[in-house]
Structure formats: C-alpha cells, structure tokens
Symmetry: C2
Subunit: 612 residues, 2 copies
C-alpha cells in the first residue's frame, strides 16, 4: 500500500514536515497550500527536496470555490486555476485537489458543475495534472460523495476524477453502499482520517478534532475495503487537522501517523476475505501474539525505604536481587514488582516498565518493529533470558515475556532466592494484578491509545472525565480481548501552578477476593488505607439504598463502592502515595468490569489531603 500524508497533519516548517514524513516511512506527501505559501523555497526547490528524500508529491491542495458559479465568476476562477495548475506542474504533483464549492456557488445543478469542471480538466490536461474533486461535508450544494461522483461522471473528462475522504463521508453518516458504483479508475485520490464521535458541526469537527486511524470512532477498515473494492490503486493519504498534533514534535507525530496506516492496512487485510477487484497488495503485520497476563511491573525511584515499607505492609516480600543487574524482585502471590533505584537517582518513584506474558515474544517484537516502534536494548548476560522491550510514547518500557507453565517466569530465576520462610505471612490472601494506571502527558495521549492498541491488541473503552480539584482528568481504559489485561491512561490537566504532589501519580491495582477481610488483616498489621470522607458514605446510602450496617462497614474500612447496571459490584481502597506511586486494592463481584470512575473524584481530593 502506498502511503502519503498531508503537510497540514503535522507541525513545523515545510522543510521539517517533509523530513518528518520521510523519516516516518511515508512514500508521498500532499503539499497543503498554506505550507507552500509561507515557505521561502521555490516550487522547484520543494520538488527537489522531495526527490532527494524519495518522497512523491502526490497532491497539491486545496483549490476552493470553483464550480457552480455564473459565467463571469468562472472566468476569474479559471484564471486562478491556471496559476495553481502551473504551480502543481512545477511541483511535479500528479494531482490537484478541488473541493466542492462552499462560498461562491449559486447554481445548484450537476450539469453546470460538470461543464465547468470539464473546462478545468482541459487546463489540467495541458499541464499533465489531474483534478481530484472532493465533496466537502459542508459544501454548498455538493456535500456527499455520491453527489460528487454524479458530477464527475457527468464531467466525463479523463483528467477529472474523485477524491474520497473518510472524514467527509462518515461525518455525514453516509453509507458506503454506493461506493460500488464508482469505477476505481475514476478515483484519483483517497484521504483518510479518523475522529472521535461528536455531535459538532462538521467544519469545526474537521478543523480541530481529526485523528489518525485507530484513534477515533470511524469504521475505517470498512472504508478501506470499500475503496479497494472499486479497484483504486493510488496512495492512501493521511489528512488530519488536529490542534494537538500541530503542537507536537513533527518527527514523532509523523511516525504515529505512519503507524496508524500500517495498523489500518493490517486490519483491512485481515478483514477482507476477498477483494477480487483490488489491484493493491495489502501487507499484513506479523500477528499480535496473544497477551496472557501481566508479568511484572517495574518501579524506579529514590524512595526505596518508604516504598519497601509500603510493599511489606501489603504483604510483598523481597524475592532476591538480580545476578547481574542492580534490581530487586518483590512478589506477592503471582504479582511481581521489579524495583530499581539506580537509574534515576534524582527522581521520585514511578512506574517505568510493564512486562506482559505473551504467547510469542519474538512475534510481538517483530510486529512492533513493523509498526516503527523503538526497540529497547537491555544488557543481557550469558544464560539470562532475552527481554524483548519497546518504548511507549510516554517513555514507559513495555516488555514481551515468554509464557511460563509454572507459577514463576524463567527470568525470575535470575534473582537470588530469599529464604522461603519469609513468604508465609501473605496478608492479602489470593492476589492478582487487576490493572495498572499511568499518568500521560497531554501531547502523546492519542498516540498512546494507538500504540497499545496496535502493539498489544488492547482495545480502548469509553473515555471518562474525572473532576479533580485542579481540572478535568481524561481517563481512558484499555483492555485485552479476554479482559485479563487492563491499563488505564489518565491525562492530568495543566494548571497554573499545581502543588507538586498533584502532578498525577501512577498506580497498581491488586485484586483480592474478600476486600473487607483483607483490609482488616492489613489494619491489624498496622497498615492504614487512604481516609475517605464521611459525606461520601452518606451519599452512598442515599444513592444505592444500602443498609446502615453495610455502609458503616464500608466507612469503617475506608472502602469505596460502585454498582453497575447489571448488579455487578466493586469495592476499592487505596494506600498512601510514595513518590508518584500508590496501590489500589479491589474486589469485583457479579461481573463488574469498570474501575469505579464515579469514585475517582473523591479519591483524588482525599489524596490531596493526604499526599503521602
């Protein structure tokens, strides 16, 4: 599949954009007019930059407000078009995009539009350029792909074809059913964008909120299948207007964009059983190896003493130190934490790595390579397990770990064993790792969603906004197909001057079968949970009609409660925070599969009061 990207999709100068597109692996680019106009490079220089980088200039865009106008306006538009077609030819752009008229169209008639586009086609043909006509979702008269095809069909000019854009199609809730009527040879260009599902006017939605494929809610594999079924064999080009992507590092963002196309290509290839008409070969990624469970979580920082007190209080026991690396393994049942306080001596404790047990670590790593994700190299001494690691957008390290039939992974044997007698007093009873929650920076949040989706096969759930005393926290859960793995990404709002302890912490949630009993045992051993305000319990009583006795027990133990629509119930409580890490303990019954989002505000405000 040939990939392209519109320069408007990323930040920087035109030169920086081209370099970012190349370094991300794109085959071509669309030159967005504003980027050209503000560049000091001549069209010929831009053409030679692109040639030197091995980038095709697939499209020059946009040419606006051309068709459906009275005769005198048409003459002016044709003169304007000649200048832009000359420019496209100078750039070596095969195609110029013409958007359906938004501002100046006065004649709502396909024949007029077609007659006028035919004259434009003649001018384009003289210069060896093609016209790709696109229905904008907010076009004055032409605003559906079906109508734009009627106009192009009637134009019947070899140099005039269609541009299809997934945003304009899905933002109007158009079906793909009529795409079969369009011969692939008349589709001259295909633009693709995802977007969050919003009820906003299409123009504002388009200009600010588009996303890369896989980050929003549009059915893009279906769109791709429909386009390919026509026989279209041109580039698939990312055209995304997004306020955040304009602000981020163009090299990283272009890489994210390219990854989104590789992911979409793979999904499309797997979904399409047979596309007899498609001449475009789709390349599959190595399959995502099935993810089984959390293998380990690594925490770095300099609050080692405090952290080990907290871990000991929860029942974790030191399993030993690594034979060649300065890390220690702490375990509680099958929950494994790797602690390391050597690498970042100045920083607070935070979650720095996540290990996942997968069927085939080599396949997972190979897939990540194909997705252009940075591999991590860890030194491995002879005889030690090879760790396959990749870097997440926020810098968290993600490791693919080999399956282990017994209770202990092979890598754990590299840690010296501590006397087994130490393991007796496991306070929490049976414990599993329920989920891990990470605080993400605002500028790589959508990138992180796609990253975890494409590499680990985690699927995003409905995102929620949690009110914090300093703003709204966007919270996004992702989960593996069988629900065994859950990850929650929280974007901490910016604030004018937040207290340091409120910059957002990571947390690790442990699941137990009887949380009240567990908390009682922990309390007898001297451990206090985060105190929850009495007002919360008064509300709980009113909201759920719980008995006074049940509420009193919850309150006594500082447990938070939630109930879902199907009667599933959830209990949760929190430890104190050490550095930027705290632990949550949860109990799930009746199939409850949320995370107690309704309680997050209360927890966050309570944590402000008890920062440590």
């Amino acid at each position: 599949m040939r990939t392209s990207i519109a320069t408007v999709s990323i930040g920087g100068t035109l030169e920086a954009k081209l370099e970012a597109a190349r370094s991300a692996g794109f085959d071509g680019i669309e030159i967005f007019e504003n980027d050209l106009i503000s560049s000091f490079a001549t069209p010929r220089q831009i053409r030679s930059w692109a040639e030197r980088l091995g980038l095709r200039i697939d499209l020059y865009q946009p040419f606006r407000d051309f068709e459906g106008v009275p005769a005198e306006q048409l003459s002016a538009n044709l003169r304007r078009a000649e200048a832009k077609l000359d420019l496209a030819a100078e750039l070596g752009a095969a195609t110029m995009l013409v958007c359906s008229n938004v501002a100046t169209a006065t004649i709502d008639d396909d024949r007029t539009a077609a007659d006028q586009l035919r004259r434009l086609g003649d001018l384009a043909a003289e210069r060896g350029v093609r016209i790709a006509y696109e229905a904008l979702a907010w076009g004055r008269f032409v605003n559906t792909y079906r109508r734009s095809w009627q106009v192009v069909e009637r134009t019947d000019h070899p140099s005039v074809g269609l541009c299809l854009d997934s945003f304009h199609i899905f933002s109007r809730s158009s079906t793909l059913a009529e795409m079969g009527e369009i011969p692939g040879a008349k589709i001259f260009f295909c633009q693709i964008a995802d977007a969050p599902l919003m009820d906003l006017d299409p123009l504002s939605w388009s200009r600010h909120y588009r996303l890369f494929p896989g980050q929003g809610g549009f059915p893009l594999p279906e769109f791709m299948s429909a386009v390919l079924s026509t026989g279209y064999d041109g580039p698939i080009s990312i055209e995304v207007f997004n306020d955040v992507f304009r602000q981020t590092d163009p090299i990283r963002t272009a890489r994210d964009a390219h990854r989104s196309l590789r992911y979409l290509e793979d999904l499309t290839a797997r979904a399409t059983i047979s596309t007899p008409a498609s001449p475009m070969p789709l390349e599959r990624l190595p399959p995502a190896s099935t993810i089984r469970t959390h293998d380990f979580v690594e925490i770095h920082g300099t609050v080692a003493g405090e952290l080990s007190n907290l871990l000991t209080g929860l029942g974790f026991r030191p399993h030993g130190t690594h034979r060649s690396k300065p890390v220690a393994l702490w375990t509680l049942g099958e929950v494994r934490l790797v602690l390391d306080d050597t690498r970042s001596p100045g920083s607070n404790a935070k979650v720095t790595a996540l290990g996942f047990e997968v069927d085939d670590p080599v396949a997972s790593a190979a897939r990540a390579d194909q997705l252009n994700i940075t591999r991590l190299s860890r030194e491995t001494a002879a005889g030690e397990q090879v760790l396959y690691g990749i870097a997440a957008p926020d810098g968290t390290e993600v490791y693919f770990c080999a399956p282990h039939p017994g209770s202990e992974p092979a890598w754990a044997r590299e840690f010296s064993k501590v006397d087994a007698a130490e393991h007796e007093a496991v306070l929490l009873g049976s414990v599993t790792l329920d989920h891990v929650a990470l605080t993400e920076p605002w500028y790589s949040f959508d990138e992180a969603i796609l990253y975890y989706r494409a590499t680990l096969g985690l699927e995003p759930e409905q995102s929620v906004d949690v009110a914090d005393a300093y703003g709204l926290v966007r919270s996004q859960a992702l989960r593996s197909a069988d629900g065994a793995i859950a990850l929650v990404l929280n974007v901490q709002p910016l604030s004018e001057s937040p207290p340091v302890h409120h910059r957002g912490a990571d947390h690790i949630a442990l699941r137990v079968s009887d949380l009240p009993a567990t908390v009682r045992r922990l309390r007898r051993a001297g451990m206090r949970m985060l105190e929850i305000p009495a007002n919360y319990y008064a509300d709980l009583r009113a909201r759920y009609g719980l008995t006074d006795e049940v509420v009193a027990q919850l309150q006594d133990l500082d447990l938070l409660f939630d109930r879902d629509d199907r009667g599933g119930e959830f209990l949760q409580c929190y430890t104190r925070t050490v550095g930027s890490v705290f632990f949550e303990l949860v109990q799930r019954t009746g199939g409850y599969d949320g995370f107690g989002a309704a309680n997050s505000s209360v927890r966050r405000v309570a944590q402000m009061r008890s920062p440590t």
Copy 2:
C-alpha cells in the same frame, strides 16, 4: 442584586472555593454535590464556614432523575430525596435544585410529573427547604423552560418552583417571549452562564464550554430583563462548567466571575428603561468614560540599545527623560513610547503598559474599582500628573490618561525636552497608532476579553485561528465603539518544546497613509523589513487578479496585501523583532477594518526564519 456562584465554577477544594467566593464579593454560593461528597467537612461545618465568611448557602444541587417514573421507582426516588433534603436542611440551604429527568423517565406526562413533584414538595416543606425544578436542555421529556413551567404550575405546591438557567434556554434557541407568563414568585432560583456560540450537542457544550457573562455570545441582558420583569427577586447565580476555569487560580477566577455579574447588572440596568414589576434594585457602575485614543505604550526590557536602533530607524526620536523616574519618552508624530529598562533587568523587551486617553480618568478608575480590578500605585512627585492605572489579567498595566487639547499630553511635559532640531527627519510622514497586539497566556484569555470589555468598553470581534508552525494561535480583536482603539489578543499554543524566540511577541502597529513610499524612505535610510517569501506573491497574483506590476512592487517592498468583501484594501509589513517586541506598519484604504488575519501565518513562519 444578590450574587451567588456554584462551587463547580471554580477549582480547588470546597474550602478554597468558599474562600474564593467570599473574597470575590459574592453574597451566596450553590453547593455542588460532588464538592460536598469529597469534602471531609460535615454539612454543619460547611454551614458554619459559610456563616463565618458571610456567605449564604443559596442552593444545594443537583438532584437528578426524579420525576416521570413508575410507582416503584418513585418510592426509591423519594427515599433518596429525603436523604438529600435532610442534607440541604443541615447545610441551611434554602433551596434544592431538581433537574428534569434525563435517564430514568418513562412517562411523558405533565400530570404524572406534577403529582410526583408534589410529593417531593411535601417532603421538602417538612424540612423548610424549597424545590427549584429546572429543565435541562437534554432532559428526556422536559427540556424547555416553558414545559418545566407547565409542570410546576400544575404541581401547584408552595414549596415547588422553577429554576431558570440561561444556558439551558439559549442552547435550545428558546425565545424569552413566554417568560412573561411566569409569576416571579414561582421562580425559586436563577442561574446564569454565557457560552461561545457553537453547533455542538448541548450536553458537551454545557459541560466544557460555558463562560462567565460577557465572555460568550448569549443575549444575557435580555435574559436578565425578562427574569426581572417577572418580579423575581432571588439571587442571580453563576453556574459555569468550563475546562479552563477548573484549572486556574480559584481566587482570580471567582473575581472574574463576580466582575461578570457586576458588568451584566450594569448593562441590564442601562438597557431596561422601565421594569415596573421588578422589585430587585440594579446597581449601575460609574459609566465607562469615553475612550478617545491611544496615549502611550510602555516597553520594558534590557535590549535598550537594539530597541533604540530600531526606533531610530523608524523615525522615533528621544523626547527626553522623566524628571523623577528612570523612563524615557520617544515620539513619532503623536505616537508616544515610554521606555524603561530598570524595573525588570533580566527580561526581554515586551509591552508592559498601555495608556489610553479618556474623557474622564477619575470616572474610569472608579468604574474599575467597582469591577474589583486591582489599582496600580505609581509614585507621583509633587506637581506631576496623577496616573490612574489598573492591572490587566496578564499583568499589563492599563492607564487612563486625561484628555489634552494640544498635541502633547500634560504628562509629557514631565520629560526634559530634547533639541527640537532632532525632530526634523520623520521618516514615516503622518503616523498614528493603529493597534497593539499582546500575547496572552491560555489561562486568562476569556478573563482578558471581559476585562477590556468592562473597563474600556472595547467590544470583541469574531475570533480567528491562525496556523503557526507550532500550532493554532487564537486571535481576538477588540475595538472601541468609534474604531479609534484596537487591541488584538493572541493566545500562543502550548508546544512540547518551542524555541524561545517563538513564545510569542507583542507588537505595535503604526498606520501611515502611503506605505510603499514610507517603506522606500525607510529602506533608503538603511532599514530592512521582514522578508516575505516569493510564493506568497505568486498566490496573491492568482487570488486577487492583481497585475504583475502591482505584485512586483509589493514583493519588492515585502508588503503583505488583503482585500475585504467591500473592496477595502490593506497593506502591512513588519520590522525585525527585538526581545519580544516588533513593529508593524499598515495602510488602510476603502474602509478596510481588519488586521490582515489571512497573512498572519506567512508572517509568523517568516519570523521563525528571521527571529531578530
């Protein structure tokens, strides 16, 4: 007018919110349920906090999903209501807000809703609490104020009345015409919010984008007049859900909220010729003294040598130094700049103060006092002009200067005169100050709009987004009634790591009558303007059908061009940037009254290439 504010409108803990509300001057508060639930204070403690601060608890809110339900659901809802009414009574809240049912209503019938609300009214009456029923714009069956009034009228219970909220009314484009049918005594509460005009679903619009009155597009003085005409005499309460306001300093934000109510009160009092039915006295502000023209601009910084070179190049001449303060006056025609490099020795040059000539400086300052705006105190030696100064949200100082019949303000005489011979070579010919553009931080932008509107009577125009290589810059022009004063506020987007020179600069635009001739003279004197790319001129030729000769002249002089719909034309060019300040030169013909927004992207990218 009695003022109130919902705790959800500002950030911080409940205690911080109450203190912020009091310090801003509010008479009362609405306690938002989430803020109470996450507080460790008991309802009685909260009540006594409020009493100590002299704040009335006007409302407890919200109680959701009560009416229009089957009998068994009603019983549960009544039990839930009893707990919340007890709580409201404990808080000493006179009124509890009940929102129209969104989630659980199944019976679309006014009589059922009324019967059920009547039972709620009985429970409320037992506790001395009133019920204010509000139609949410997204209510399942009841979603207009008219329908909510029908239900309340039918309920016919002394403890059940209406809550009117400007957002829910204007977001559904409801007219105010039917408000006359409602007796003021049955309106139990009135909430007010502004919002930008958007085509977004009302729930998302409401939850994220509400603004304080005067910051958005709703006709709120009309709303106020309609409400007061009913005879309503309760509090007018700000209820604003805004993502940014949650993130900002609660004290500053509460002050902004209170200012918005004072401003609205004044507008309403002035608009309402007679409201015979209104028992609520509206207090007018001292009238905004008519603003005549820019008096001076002050620039601080440590690039004095460079700055004076730039000023000299433009034809500014040193007028002298102040007799008692370490500042120098530079003039060019009637444009006066005050330069000072002593106060902030470590920082770059930036615009630090704006002086405006107004009819009555004392009245302007008195009005600002009433708007709770911080007055600045400048030392004034005996015999010197008193300067009336106030602080703008971004720290810029704003001065009200006395009118002066001659060409020189009285304060200018405090500067020693430099030999008049120096004034001969004024390169720019006749020059006036066209506008000043300031870079604003993201967190005080809406506050700044209201500030300039309320203090100086500048009215905001349509805001525009300008694409920059690092993101979209929101640009908002404000103008005085007669157009003599224009101010442009730009919000620089955040970026991961912007180069320092791109953090956004302030600029001062000078208007001349013949810009080409001016630039030629400046050039002969050795001054170069910011270089504009050739591609810009190729586009200009195509876009406006300008002759080659005209375009060649523009390009030769690095002039940017714009034309409005009515044929008005604009020329503009830019100097180099010194510190964080540059100058723009403009020429307006044919009534053009924009700022060349279409050229801003080109200018911004060109400035990245030539930062100084």
